[in-house]
Symmetry: D3
Subunit: 237 residues, 6 copies
Amino acid sequence: MRPSGRQTNEMRPIQIETGVTRHAEGSCLIKCGDTHVLCTASIDERVPPFLKNSGLGWVTAEYGMLPRATHSRMNREAKRGQSGRTQEIQRLIGRALRAGVDRVALGERQIVVDCDVIQADGGTRCASITGGWVALRLAVNKLMKAGDVLSDPITDHVAAVSCGIYAGQPVVDLDYPEDSEAGTDANFVMTGRGRMIEVQASAEGATFGRDELTTLIDLAEGGVAELVAAQKAALEG
Amino acid sequence: MRPSGRQTNEMRPIQIETGVTRHAEGSCLIKCGDTHVLCTASIDERVPPFLKNSGLGWVTAEYGMLPRATHSRMNREAKRGQSGRTQEIQRLIGRALRAGVDRVALGERQIVVDCDVIQADGGTRCASITGGWVALRLAVNKLMKAGDVLSDPITDHVAAVSCGIYAGQPVVDLDYPEDSEAGTDANFVMTGRGRMIEVQASAEGATFGRDELTTLIDLAEGGVAELVAAQKAALEG
Amino acid sequence: MRPSGRQTNEMRPIQIETGVTRHAEGSCLIKCGDTHVLCTASIDERVPPFLKNSGLGWVTAEYGMLPRATHSRMNREAKRGQSGRTQEIQRLIGRALRAGVDRVALGERQIVVDCDVIQADGGTRCASITGGWVALRLAVNKLMKAGDVLSDPITDHVAAVSCGIYAGQPVVDLDYPEDSEAGTDANFVMTGRGRMIEVQASAEGATFGRDELTTLIDLAEGGVAELVAAQKAALEG
Amino acid sequence: MRPSGRQTNEMRPIQIETGVTRHAEGSCLIKCGDTHVLCTASIDERVPPFLKNSGLGWVTAEYGMLPRATHSRMNREAKRGQSGRTQEIQRLIGRALRAGVDRVALGERQIVVDCDVIQADGGTRCASITGGWVALRLAVNKLMKAGDVLSDPITDHVAAVSCGIYAGQPVVDLDYPEDSEAGTDANFVMTGRGRMIEVQASAEGATFGRDELTTLIDLAEGGVAELVAAQKAALEG
Amino acid sequence: MRPSGRQTNEMRPIQIETGVTRHAEGSCLIKCGDTHVLCTASIDERVPPFLKNSGLGWVTAEYGMLPRATHSRMNREAKRGQSGRTQEIQRLIGRALRAGVDRVALGERQIVVDCDVIQADGGTRCASITGGWVALRLAVNKLMKAGDVLSDPITDHVAAVSCGIYAGQPVVDLDYPEDSEAGTDANFVMTGRGRMIEVQASAEGATFGRDELTTLIDLAEGGVAELVAAQKAALEG
Amino acid sequence: MRPSGRQTNEMRPIQIETGVTRHAEGSCLIKCGDTHVLCTASIDERVPPFLKNSGLGWVTAEYGMLPRATHSRMNREAKRGQSGRTQEIQRLIGRALRAGVDRVALGERQIVVDCDVIQADGGTRCASITGGWVALRLAVNKLMKAGDVLSDPITDHVAAVSCGIYAGQPVVDLDYPEDSEAGTDANFVMTGRGRMIEVQASAEGATFGRDELTTLIDLAEGGVAELVAAQKAALEG
């Protein structure tokens, strides 16, 4: 029934390869099926102006897509400027990652997480959050190893999954063919303990009822649990 | 407990005055407490390029804030360009309004809904949706009266309310003092029949659990019902 | 002879309502016939860089039009940037208001006057100056009441009126139907004592002679006197 | 009394050299004292979109200053965008030149007049109008010689001069030292027959009275007459 | 003597992996030591406006760097716009690739080659040209296989290498530590047959003589030969 | 054989007039045939941020073309922003001039060289370098005369010439008709002693061989010698 033949609660294969670039303090390449995102975390000892002398740290994110990450080539944002969609996504990633960070413990420094989509097949913002957290975790590990940060500022895993109502059926982890046809499209960002950070559910065609929202949350909880397990495996591996 | 002394499920006073500008095909000034938004709907017989010769109509929205709508003056977006926040809000308003429109019945034309915040005290995006729908309804009425549209393309009311967890307590219709302190901030867009169009819940400080989300939805359903009643009253009055 | 049936020297009805927004230090809604402009004055204790440590104050203005203030919807300047016309108008408003201010007495602070056209029917720049002065006056009153400014920096009323040659006949206070047909279009900014601050007369079709300019100045003097009376009434009321 | 030792009604030496660039259909280098402006007129057989199939021609102007035309170097507008002042000036030049053109006789084509200030010493906008008219005249001559235009679309000379109140004294043709100190600054655009196209008088410090405006107009009439004579001499020479 | 211990005429290890992205008509990941560039070629059946109905094809290139491709994070060009350096590089890549294409044989279509630097260690523009040619070759192969292009429009291999004078010694294929210290920096683009497409040699500190230029060309010829061999191997592999 | 009838090694007439603008610390108008460039050098006692407190000076260049410097009018860069070509050229001019300057001897100050093309007929970037050096020389002379710089920071003359393969024949100093048809286009920047600063050779149609490059260098050496002689004559004259 799903174009990929998956079960309604079946995630795409998840691969997270860490340490993929030489310069970044933390990095990974996350593959959720055919969606591939390169995530790097860069430590900057300067905070944004509004935090100067506050003693608080900051985590922010930027998101981009290579022009031919998609089925047909998109115009390069460096030429036309960031779209509203791009800005919305990177604001979401930043908010999501900050929700898992103790900014006092991080100290007055900034970590910038860059999420660049190498290949897109649906769910790029969710993969960016899940992979971005791994890059962030690695950069923080480096800070702790160097003694620059004493108590761990990471309070919990953060991961995200999309769910939607495809052909009338709630399903988890939509790929592009599903995403472009789904009646309702939802993104869930949760912690490793299953607490919610962000819920975004949007009717694309038909509206949805409370019961459907409940089913989508159930699916998301299962999906996020798998993503968190993949994060742990990648960090241990 | 709430700075305004309201009950947790108590909305601010709602006023919707229609026909407030001379030129627009539909208009209203919506006041949700001290949040005042001027909404106009403009009919444009040309659709965006991607809909040319599709037979489908389009509804889109733009959002702005006068520089001194807020407590301290903000820079004018005409000078510095639209912020990511502004673009995110106007994309939401557009999606919300389109969810209540039959684009075949509307025919190949566009309606642009402008929501300009005259005075802000929290909940400006929700007031924009609720008031924007009234302006849209009035513009469509004009099209129908003129015989340009034969069957009503408006499928249901659309209204929105914010909810949040303030001082540990779920409350409805946050004003600015609550909004700036809330641990979780959520916006619900619903139809007159209580179906959901958009759910956005975001942890600003503490994460939230499923039970809390459930309470927020309960509060939102009550709030939207009041807003829909106010829309009806304004259109009949 | 005039589309509105007015006499050549007859102004449109003037209404100035003060205190219309909650946040601004000074505000009014000015209505010159169907031209409605919301004016706010915002006090900023920081001056522009070129005045730092000069002991001199600054008054500046910004001007905008809501997209559907006009007969057909205009593109939003926040999306396309400020037009040359907008910049020209706001430079004029700023110059005009500064001409009535003793910048030494104001002290090293800035007042920003925002003029946003809610509904347009000709003469928006003149209404902005006349209403902007009222907002400025109110903001300065607040500074004086608080003891932040000791001697009144406002040296005189400032008001503005448009005149033009419509159908060969000099007339005062053009509305949009006249403005779009006028052969010569002029704006006069004057003080309460009848001194001139700015004269801008421009041949749109036919050129004009000295005698015609003389008649336009006569009309303007009468018009500005009425506007100054309305400013006084609004401030006393 | 004037820094240059000129009489109050004494213009700076005027030189207009025509045919100074190889490519433009019309060109001149105008020198009003130490203010030097290169003016070119370019014929474009395409009109702006709003005139397509109207049968009407268009004349427009663009204005620029080389970065070191001024006493201290200014930032290059190609890098930072055109300032409000630049846009205001080029709108004025365009309006001024159009006032001397019969757009039906010109036919559906556009002439773009570029005015680039090589060296600035006050009065650059007036020199641009006076020199721009010569470039325009030459380009139109070329169209007429080629038989592309049958009856002369130029209805009269157009020239401009600045006047102002310097050290309490009305004077004509201000240079930079005067301009930067003048209490009132005015620009007059007139035709060869002495009809007025544009009057812009602005109080920079002190306001001005009707009698002073009258004196400024007298001075301007004398100045424009000299400029028109110089235009004629340059075209005949 | 070289930081990497390489001989003066020794290239870094070259790896070219083809078919690395799912959507692009041609793609490769080229690794020249620690410089990694993802190259994709996208076929667009529409040509730029200046080639419409000319019967001629077009090849163009765009270049970008992920923000953390470099040792310290750079600002994202999507936020600040493309720098002059980026534009200069992508113009070079486009010119270089077009020099190896018969635009008549290609037919009226465009191929856009995107070169995105994943990791930078000097020589990114040369790696982009060498890898970009492979992506272009693959995309053209696809056109030929489909019968859309009948005779091969690719006239020869195109590859590029940097050379420079490091510590007084001419060397080939500079890595970042050499590049940042080199007295002279040169880029050579050549064909498979050893003909020159582009020579760019620039004194960064000391000027250079003809003899040194001769040595740099010798080194470049050897380096390009290796790169062409690697291109062939990758296409056959 | 050449459209101008010149010999293959024959330069266009060179004229360099110094002191052409009143305000700049150094200036000249250079004419290479019909290519006319106004060059000014402006001393700025502030250096760019990256050189603050370094004790090192900086020389930078900006390049522009008047809209009607060319055969058909180009859009004004102040309106559309600087093109990639413009940025590439001004980066080249800056690099070239810096190669002839001892930045320690210059001291911590900046000289900005503006090169504005008044009339274009090919070779504008080379004329800008040759003329820009004269303006720079004059500005430095002024600094030395004033005692602000003690030992001469100018280490040698810098001049540039274009060469190319036109109709199969290597020629020097291409004018526009040659430039637009040339198979290979090259620019050589050299010092007064004949050392090379920058070599840029680019195949526009046919590729070129080493022997052809050798001939182009021979031609360039002769051309630069003539340009250096003209610089000397202008400075002495």
